[in-house]
Point group: C2
Chain length 301, copies 2
């Protein structure tokens, strides 16, 4: 069986776990990693034997590019890659911008006869699929989504948004469940010398990522004491007659990477079937995200 | 907006709840009910104002037929209806026969340029979709499905299978969770005069519906004392790094009916897009099962 050839774009936490997910999957293989800088010494070991380049054009025969750059850079990077006709997947996570991204990417993907599956991490992504299922079993209910797992978790999107602010040396944004679909956010930052804490704090609190939530910002000496890779979500929909609940908890970038590699399969199959366009996770058939023959994928139905 | 015209085939528990689901949905309307016998007196009130016929040909302009006959009769009935070019949905629930039904129905649906979505209740159906999602987030785990909700529930498929046995006047089959994906089944039967209890008991225990489970069969005077409409399922997938759980519990035929009416929407849209064939629930995009415009369906993504 010919394996699906994957390029990983961006070498952060998600990129690293994507490499692991590719190695664990029976039907995909890694063609290379695209980074802003050539492999630096500290990553030598983990990238041993991997083709590392700074431009995707340097890689040959890519079936799907897994775009694991910071969320806000993802749509731009995706446009660049689908304009070469290469399918992409990403875990773009700004819920309010999903419709705008769809409008932006869809015609472009059709024009270049390729496929993009975007917003395809665990939330948005698989959680969005669960929310859709909850809605169709209980049309008259209301779904609450509570993030943070049992003890609070590290939001990758929020963390990356804070890290991008001028004067921030390092940061972590934790999400704590606050009941009935509400959240507290606890942001810890290490400051650059001379940075203005109050200014940075205001910038964080006014950011669309944080503006809806009860957010506290604390300057610390060493963020590693406050950090965790764990995260999770709980989805509930209760009516008088039907109650449903779903929970997921685990290593945040590992869950994201697993969904991305599954989405790479779905993107590859969509392109094979000439179903061009940019799609959210819920616009593609679930069976396309699994490895194996049709019969194998239907097992356990 | 033109509403999707639905025919309900079969007037049992699921058929009744389908009528309710249609009435609660903004985008579908009931064209009529097809029954083996003309409306009898006891159903006069609940079928008031509804066109009741014995043959689907007597109904005009059907967009989708919701086949809510006993599960084992469903594939035969579906073949008959899709051979007229009319799309169908059903909640056929014999897990082991899903692949065979696919092979049987798919070419026929293509031949008649129509669509069938089968095995589309809550299990198989939405639970199958959840199992697929669990697999793709945690490729290396093992999923257990435990039925019965918190206190045990009424399996419609199993109950119908027992009722179909000669000598059985009335029956109910309850499913009780027995830990780690195992179940006990408690079957209560009212016997016809002169029926052979031991023979019926053996027939039940050897039936594919029951053969894998710890089954007890008890003859009773009045099964209504043992009956319930409630049922549920719990799906779990645990690995060292990621844990996921989903549970659903409620009125069994109501949950089935809601999924069927959602599937009718997906079948209608598939036919509109000339995507002919017979499909399980996981072969169609989830977004197609929701009512409303594309933008409305993407809300809450």
């Amino acid at each position: 069986m010919r394996k699906i050839k994957i390029a990983i774009i961006g070498w952060g936490n998600v990129g690293r776990f994507c490499k692991q997910a590719v190695e664990n999957a029976p039907d995909v293989e890694l063609s290379g990693v695209v980074r802003r800088l050539q492999s630096v010494d500290k990553d030598k070991d983990e990238l041993k034997g991997v083709c590392v380049v700074t431009d995707i054009d340097a890689l040959k025969d890519i079936d799907v590019a897994v775009v694991s750059v910071p969320s806000r850079e993802a749509p731009g990077k995706v446009k660049e890659i689908i304009s070469k006709g290469i399918p992409t997947v990403d875990s773009f996570d700004v819920h309010d911008h999903i419709q705008a991204v769809k409008k932006d990417l869809h015609p472009l993907a059709i024009q270049y006869k390729t496929v993009s599956i975007f917003g395809a991490g665990w939330d948005p992504g698989t959680d969005s699929a669960i929310r859709t299922i909850l809605r169709l079993i209980s049309p008259d209910g209301q779904t609450t989504t509570t993030f943070g797992g049992t003890k609070g978790g590290r939001s990758m999107g929020h963390t990356a948004a804070v890290k991008a602010i001028d004067g921030v040396k390092n940061a972590v944004s934790l999400t704590l469940p606050n009941g009935a679909g509400c959240h507290k956010r606890k942001v810890y930052i290490e400051l650059m010398p001379g940075a203005d804490f109050e200014k940075i704090k205001n910038q964080i609190c006014q950011d669309p990522y944080f503006v809806h939530d009860d957010t506290s910002v604390t300057a610390v000496e060493d963020i590693s004491l406050f950090d965790t890779m764990n995260h999770g979500g709980e989805l509930e929909r209760l009516t008088r007659n039907i109650r449903q609940a779903y929970s997921v908890e685990g290593i945040n970038p590992m869950m994201t990477a697993n969904v991305l590699i599954a989405s790479a399969r779905a993107a590859y199959r969509a392109k094979q079937n000439a179903q061009y366009g940019a799609f959210t996770f819920i616009e593609r058939p679930l069976i396309d995200f699994l490895p194996g023959s049709f019969e194998e994928r239907l097992k356990g139905y």
